[in-house]
Symmetry: C2
Subunit: 416 residues, 2 copies
């Protein structure tokens, strides 16, 4: 990609609306723009980041045996009356009537819809276990949208649903999802606290939350500095570790994932039953597993930035390399940059070339702000020496390499 062909409106100033480091950097690096409070456009760089995260999630979901589908955003309100959650959702659920008078809502989550679907097609214990998932846009009428994409009215979620014939099956799927979540967050470069949590409006007994420590996080987690114990903070809870009696620390976090052993709450309410091996009719046993995909971006930035900008973990970086011809108006500089761009393309390494007619200072600042893993710097000096300068964004480590060996070294640094 050439910078001039993409749409990367970087900002020098910190935007007034930004309430957290991640929010500031997402605006400054041109990842997102607000259309109205709680509603964001993902610009090309933000979309690429989102895409990389979705790729990681998909691979881990498939490895855990989950199958992707896509459920609708428009749902009949009547389904929510039948599950008993119509009132629970209150004003958070967006509702309206269409021109034919149908009472419709915008799905804030999909337990009802997926249970109806399974009810119509799963009749026998032989058809289970089954795990379905989707990556889809959800809608919530947040009374106070905050922190950019973290508490938004329109956001992207990965929601998975498991269907089993018995509790043991549910527990197997629950563990597989728990493990998949740990791998997803690790691959996203995230440090995560896992806590036993309240099931709240979702129902069921066992549930775990995946919380990313972040200064701007609104959820408090208590952690033990000695053992790995962690739990959701609750007012009035005894303040020492139940494992080793050590006083607990309080940490601000962003909730990224929540998994639930739902049991039969939805299958009983909506009548999703199956015949077991003995021919007895039983309600299907369900679990559900959510990840806030768009808010993952914010959490990754909260944990991966410095004063100059974002520092993308390698797998998340919108491009692997940013090529910086320092005087792009000099033919020889631009030519050398293009050579490297094409060679990287041939190696399957996606890069972006900053072909703007800007001063080196502007390009360097934007490069650090954008946070792309590796910078490839080409200027008068390096052209004279027939070299290229490589700089890793994370630790600013620099390498001067002969131009002919640049791409080999880039490949090595990116896989290291």
């Amino acid at each position: 990609m050439f910078w001039s062909k993409s749409f990367i409106p970087t900002l020098k100033e910190v935007p007034q609306e930004a309430e957290s480091a991640a929010h500031q950097l997402m605006l400054r690096a041109g990842l997102v723009r607000m259309l109205m409070a709680g509603v964001y456009s993902y610009l090309p760089l933000g979309w690429k980041v989102l895409n990389n995260i979705q790729g990681i999630i998909r691979r881990q979901m498939e490895a855990a045996g989950a199958v992707e589908l896509l459920l609708p955003a428009l749902q009949p309100q009547e389904l929510w009356v039948r599950s008993g959650r119509d009132k629970d959702m209150g004003q958070v659920m967006i509702r309206f009537s269409d021109r034919r008078g149908r009472k419709i809502c915008l799905g804030p989550t999909h337990e009802e819809v997926v249970t109806e679907l399974i009810k119509a097609h799963v009749f026998s214990y032989k058809q289970m276990p089954l795990v379905l998932y989707q990556i889809q846009t959800k809608f919530r009428d947040e009374i106070r949208p905050r922190f950019g994409v973290v508490r938004a009215c329109e956001f992207i979620m990965k929601d998975a649903y498991s269907f089993d014939k018995d509790q043991q099956g549910l527990e197997t799927n629950y563990k597989a999802m728990h493990d998949a979540y740990n791998r997803i967050f690790a691959k996203c470069g995230l440090n995560i606290l896992t806590t036993e949590a309240d099931s709240g409006v979702m129902g069921g007994r066992v549930s775990h939350e995946f919380m990313a420590p972040a200064e701007s996080g609104e959820d408090l987690v208590e952690t033990c500095p000695k053992c790995r114990f962690a739990r959701t903070f609750k007012e009035g809870q005894k303040g020492v570790c139940p494992g080793c009696n050590t006083p607990l620390d309080k940490v601000n976090t962003i909730e990224l994932g929540h998994i639930f052993q739902l049991g039969t709450k939805y299958s009983e309410a909506l009548g999703a039953t199956f015949l077991d091996a003995e021919g007895l009719r039983k309600p299907i046993i369900m679990g559900c597993y959510g990840i806030g995909v768009s808010r993952l971006i914010a959490a990754i930035i909260e944990q991966n930035h410095d004063d100059a900008g974002i520092i993308w973990p390698r797998q998340i970086s919108p491009y692997k390399a940013l090529i910086l011809p320092l005087e792009a108006d000099r033919d020889e500089v631009l030519r050398a940059a293009l050579d490297i761009y094409r060679e990287l393309e041939g190696l399957g390494i996606e890069s972006i070339l900053d072909d703007r007619d800007e001063r080196p200072g502007v390009k360097f600042k934007d490069a650090d702000l954008l946070g792309i893993t590796l910078q490839v710097i080409i200027g008068k000096k390096t052209i004279q020496d027939n070299t290229v300068e490589l700089k890793l964004r994370r630790d600013s480590q620099k390498f001067i390499v002969p131009k002919t060996e640049a791409c080999k070294k880039i490949k090595e640094l990116l896989s290291g």
Copy 2:
């Protein structure tokens, strides 16, 4: 993928609700299910087909220089008042107020939102040309949803927008998109008629439609049987070809794509201007380019099916091969099927293995219904002979090959 791990609820009977061949087959092959009139869930096979189509579109958009982003579904109604289209949209646009009293609509299209975005960040002729696109869910309150995903209230669209400093730039982008559309439809295995069309509510002067001939199509196109002339049918229009005076044929079609030279309609209404090389302030010149992604599935099926079921074009097929162990309860049959499954996996050929405990007749019927490009048939007989039977879905051509050479032959047939 193993059939038993996926969710493919095939139907033997033709569902009552189905109004066209494609609609019937999408339901029978387990691609989609209706949640309510005009609102569909994409089941795993349908989602994979959708994904393949999206992949083709993305590759052609990028090749044409377009850059992907993601705009919101929630939009302020006020934007539509400013563009003057609030009234034009009438009841088709879904509108509601949120709990804070904000007047919101669900985007039926995104000219307004993208123009606002560009207005805030494009100031100079140097920042153009620019082409942005997204693949996104749109909402329309159809008074009479029909033909399954063809006329739906929630559907997936690819919408692209070009921004230029002059008419010549617009024409260049328009041609690039026109060419990209031809390549997209060809790769989707579609026969398409291109017509000059009315710009209607979108505005602008030049516009073309891409229409797929289909028995169930609701749009009439007149075509010349001698030359390649085609135009939208209009009552009272003279009935011979303006090129060669031949009487025109009438063809039923489904509209799949529509491209517009918008000109300055939106940039003037919303004040999106730039400074040209002489420092003069001018409105940005726009084009917009839409493809109905989800309805493409229906058009592909309309043009690619027989009495037994769907016949997917190779690039669209949800899996490349369907492996049919005919007596899956026989160890040796299942083992041979698994060997081929794993060997194909190693070759990067995605296959699905029908591991259901069903009679051969059921498996054959479902195989033809699903329409996967190649069937790999393994039974008692082939095991005895140490062979495998390969069958191409499209022409029923059969090949008996030694088991050890099966995957090589499969690869050859799929690339042929």
